[in-house]
């Protein structure tokens, strides 16, 4: 028995499966808005030919957490299979998250162990996810961009050809903010839902990404001028993050 136990312990791999701090809510019956958590809602669309791509978020560490990096998990993807509502044309996600300020950090292909296939290192958006509220991002739109995307917002930032990808086909992404006519699921108190208050985020470095890109411009929020990230609301360039 002891020998068997020892052998079993020896066979346990050094790899550990980490429990995600993101919880994808997959049933309306499971929707309980906690007063110590925040909630992010977004939709995805997958026209024919568009693969399943997951957003990767970074939660900006709070000052008290900076000394404990490694003890906290502040970079997460959202599991594409964890949708709350699945319609013929789109999926809706509701994700329970730690409250805080978030950055749309990158994207990864769905399925398997997530990798940072692309970081939005050349410009992206951020938003706050307040405790006890549902922050509605609108749509997270993503596609491979070696060919011109059929997603209208991504078309101008795609069609880069075969020299645009190295180890993996380059991904592009953007957000389409929620509008008054944006669908949200029945059964959720609309008073809890607030549209994401997006801000433009400057460039940052992430050497673990397989590729780099920038979030496609978001009208009224994010634009670029000769590669510089522009905060549309102020008209000013946004400085690099790090």
């Amino acid at each position: 028995m002891k020998a068997t136990l020892c052998l079993f312990l020896l066979l346990i791999p050094a790899a550990l499966y980490a429990q995600s701090s993101f919880v994808e809510i997959e049933s309306l019956e499971d929707v309980t808005i906690r007063d110590d958590r925040a909630y992010i809602m977004f939709r995805t669309v997958r026209p024919r030919g568009v693969p399943s791509i997951e957003p990767v978020f970074l939660r900006i560490p709070r000052p008290g957490e900076l000394g404990r990096l490694g003890d906290i998990e502040n970079v997460q993807s959202v599991d594409a299979s964890g949708s709350l509502v699945e319609l013929s044309s789109e999926r809706l996600y509701l994700v329970e998250v730690p409250p805080g300020d978030y950055v749309l950090y990158g994207a990864t292909y769905a399925g398997g162990t997530p990798h940072l296939y692309v970081c939005m290192c050349l410009g992206t958006v951020g938003f706050a996810a307040a405790v006890g509220e549902i922050t509605d991002m609108g749509y997270f739109l993503a596609d491979r961009v070696h060919e011109t995307s059929v997603i209208p917002e991504l078309a101008p930032e795609s069609g880069f050809g075969p020299s645009s990808y190295g180890m993996t086909i380059l991904l592009g992404a953007t957000v389409r903010p929620a509008r008054t006519d944006t669908h949200f699921p029945a059964g959720i108190d609309p008073g809890l839902i607030n549209p994401a208050n997006y801000s433009a985020i400057g460039r940052f470095f992430e050497p673990r990404a397989l590729a780099i890109n920038r979030l496609a411009p978001v009208p009224g929020i994010l634009d670029y001028e000769l590669g510089r990230v522009i905060d549309v609301s102020s008209g000013q360039p946004v400085p690099d993050v790090r």
Partner: protein, 189 residues
């Protein structure tokens, strides 16, 4: 939820920070001082007439921007070269990432980089064409929004110009980018 494979090595603090300046709109990051262009030995940049070189222009090309000065091109390349930094074998989703904080050293991520940023420029696990395309992709996404276009060159000229993506290559490529506009169609693939 999709669980993430987490190795013990990933649980150490992973902080990626650049030594780059944090001044506003620091696209040029640290002040870049280009070498005297007369000290550089530019390969023969005579526009090619070879149909095979033109056909393979999506593989071997150089960047050019009409009207850009050598100094401006050098600053652009110097800035974009920072994004070539990668960490060998570490493409998994990072768990903990600092943001706007002071640089921290971390296991496996060197603070020394030939391009002036944190991170080891090692692509040991890829080679040849994959390494070339990986770096080209990054430079394209950084330079093309600034108005740079690509022109085809032979593989030999490309090798001389890029010099294995050494820091010396920054000045060479800047010199080529600021040179005469070739009488060629730009590469669009």
């Amino acid at each position: 939820m999709r669980k993430r494979l987490t190795t013990v090595a990933m649980l150490v603090p992973l902080a990626v920070a650049a030594t780059a300046s944090t001044t506003a709109n620091s696209q040029q990051s640290q002040a870049a001082s280009p070498p005297d262009p007369s000290s550089l030995e530019l390969p023969d940049m005579t526009p090619t007439t070879s149909s095979s070189v033109i056909r393979n222009g999506w593989k071997y090309f150089y960047f050019h921007k009409e009207g850009v000065t050598y100094q401006e091109a050098f600053e652009d390349f110097h800035d974009c070269y920072q994004f070539l930094a990668t960490v060998s074998g570490r493409s998994e989703l990072p768990m903990s990432v600092s943001w706007n904080s002071e640089p921290e050293t971390s296991e496996g991520i060197s603070t020394q980089s030939p391009y002036g940023v944190v991170g080891q420029v090692i692509l040991g696990f890829v080679s040849g064409a994959m390494e070339r395309r990986n770096r080209q992709s990054r430079l394209r996404r950084c330079l093309e929004p600034r108005g740079y276009v690509r022109y085809p060159i032979s593989r030999d000229i490309w090798r001389q110009l890029t010099d294995g993506y050494s820091t010396d290559a920054i000045a060479l490529q800047a010199l080529a980018a600021s040179g005469p506009t070739p009488n060629l169609e730009p590469v669009i693939r």
